[in-house]
Symmetry: C2
Subunit: 372 residues, 2 copies
């Protein structure tokens, strides 16, 4: 059999994004795909060869820095949020040079921080959340000791889309002379485009680094993550010597890395512009409201009032509902604490999809004979 | 300005592969590009959604395992060689659970092992090389102590394309009860297709894991690295829990990751088959001989008789020659010890390119008024 036909058979088994309401990724924007294809053979692991692509990466970093209130931020385009979080904490650890270091993250932090802990040999302390599922600032404070190299706040938690009180964390970081990393992998390209954006970025003096992923709400192709530092010293703390390529040092986690994400992320942000991104975000937020109302009409209750385009509905039957939806080729997530089903209303979601989905949920509930 | 036009301007500044003789990456095979485009929106970070793509990854791992004499090997498609090396050593470290662990790598090991050391808090000891630039087995042996979790051999060193005595290392690993990782990022898709392949893979009982990168000699699109383990216990040692996606555990370093590399790598290997890959490798090796003869006719001498499609030519003026070639938009590498210029004859290199390149080198030598 022709190999492309064989590949098509595999591809058909994937669930199309039109039935996915449980992922922070989305269909790439058409301009992202065109940009990606132009850069398909590029390798940022060797910037002396791919000089133009490397220059474009500098421009994208500057653009992201501008969005996050620090045009002089430095950083690079990562493989995704996990790399961003690993590298930020690695820089903190290396700069502080403390024996048996620890970092403090909210209990709501992404599971990539478990990788961070195991990889880097850094103790990851998990701070309590308040009743709104924001990190409890006094819990963070109580965990800081003389081995703490940094604290972490989340702008757009994976489960609930909640935003931690970054302003308080920033003050705490300054007062205690520790670094502050903001994991805004999701929220970093949502909050700046909201009508009333909360403070979460370099505007706050204590923020040392931010993870912000264009392959989530930036509608870029995968992989296109972003890691930004306030100053160059953090990047320097990650350098290793590179003898045989065209540059002398490398601060990225990976070696060979594609330029496709740089091109696609840049294309989307430039093509849509600030106003275009505002429209995308506004539409997702509005649709989140629609979903909320529809689900409430089925008797569901949200875990928190949605802060961004993530919404969770409490139910003791979260896993059964998710499984039954899966059997029908609909994808949502389930969370454990509190038990709930979780929806992410990404740009690929339309009103029609929402309507179809909600009617499927109604059907699932009646088949399983359960109430929310 | 239209953003795609702007991107084109950046892309034009990149040096085309037709002038690159100093990279282990290459123009992707046309079938790789078509496969890549079919999978452009896939995300292996959520295998419950991208079930078909995930199944395809299992098939590719099996195919790579077959090539490397262990169809039951387990593993996954990484972002590249660096991730493969990090994850292998991380698995060794976690399985052994020894305080202040060390690994022993040849002095010729890729700089990614410096990242491994810094990231994982593992001491990286560098063993001496013999006169052929293979690792000196007795040097490795003398460095093993009760804190050693693993040793590393290279099958296709980055600088010279040399292959370490993996058979001896394998025996040593068994005798000393340590793990053995083979970094075959480059050679893993060269050696199996040579007329007289040396022993370097799972055929040797002591080999625990292998890095093998389809985005190098496998002509896949970036990113398409590979990490294979002899047994599942190594993967298990990398697992973290994943609460909100469709699976329960994740052993990859990154979270979100593209399926494009899986599709493109699989497409090339299936499309060309074993015989097709032999032809590609044979052609590269033959052309390496041509380059060698042409450069020798200019008075150059090789550092070692080429083992694969990498060849280095001794010269005190390596850096000047490289810089002058760079100014003329030709890319080669320079190595430090011994001083030499380094060429990698990848599948994009043709006889015409070689002829044009050698005549440029002649011109550069005369302009710089230097002898090799």
């Amino acid at each position: 059999m022709d190999v492309l036909k064989e590949l098509e058979e595999f591809r058909k088994k994937d669930i199309p994004y039109t039935r996915v309401l449980g992922s922070m990724c989305t269909t790439p924007h058409p301009i992202a795909i065109r940009a990606h294809e132009m850069f398909i053979e590029t390798n940022l692991g060797d910037p002396g060869i791919f000089r133009g692509t490397f220059e474009l990466e500098r421009k994208l970093v500057r653009l992201l820095g501008e969005i996050l209130h620090n045009p002089n931020a430095c950083g690079y385009v990562t493989s995704g949020g996990t790399e961003g979080n690993i590298q930020a904490i690695r820089a903190f650890r290396n700069l502080k040079g403390i024996d048996r270091p620890n970092v403090i993250v909210p209990k709501s932090a992404h599971f990539s921080f478990d990788k961070v802990g195991d990889l880097l040999g850094v103790e990851v302390r998990k701070a309590e959340l308040d009743e709104e599922f924001k990190v409890d600032v006094s819990s963070v404070e109580s965990m800081i000791d003389d081995r703490t190299v940094g604290i972490v706040g989340i702008a757009g938690t994976t489960e609930l889309g909640q935003v931690d009180p970054i302003k308080e964390l920033s003050k705490m970081a300054i007062d205690n002379d520790v670094f502050l990393h903001v994991d805004a992998a999701f929220g970093g390209l949502v909050i700046p485009f909201m009508d009333e954006p909360m403070d979460f970025d370099f505007k706050l003096r204590g923020v040392s680094s931010i993870t912000v992923d264009p392959h989530k709400m930036g509608m870029a192709t995968i992989p296109a993550g972003g890691l930004l530092f306030r100053e160059e010293k953090f990047l320097k703390a990650l350098e290793v010597r590179t003898p045989y390529i065209t540059t002398k040092y490398q601060w990225t986690l990976t070696g060979t890395r594609p330029g496709t994400g740089v091109a696609s992320a840049y294309a989307v942000l430039r093509h849509l512009g600030f106003e275009g991104m505002r429209k995308v975000v506004r539409r997702c937020l509005k649709l989140t409201e629609v979903v909320k109302e529809e689900m409430e009409s089925l008797g569901f209750e949200t875990v928190i009032e949605p802060v961004m385009n993530v919404v969770c509905f409490k139910t003791e039957h979260a896993y059964e509902i998710r499984e039954e939806l899966m059997r029908r080729r609909w994808v949502v997530s389930a969370i454990e604490n509190p038990k709930a089903i979780r929806l992410v209303i990404m740009p690929h979601v339309t009103e029609d999809i929402v309507r179809e989905f909600v009617s499927e949920v109604r059907d699932v509930m009646s088949k399983l004979s359960v109430e929310p």
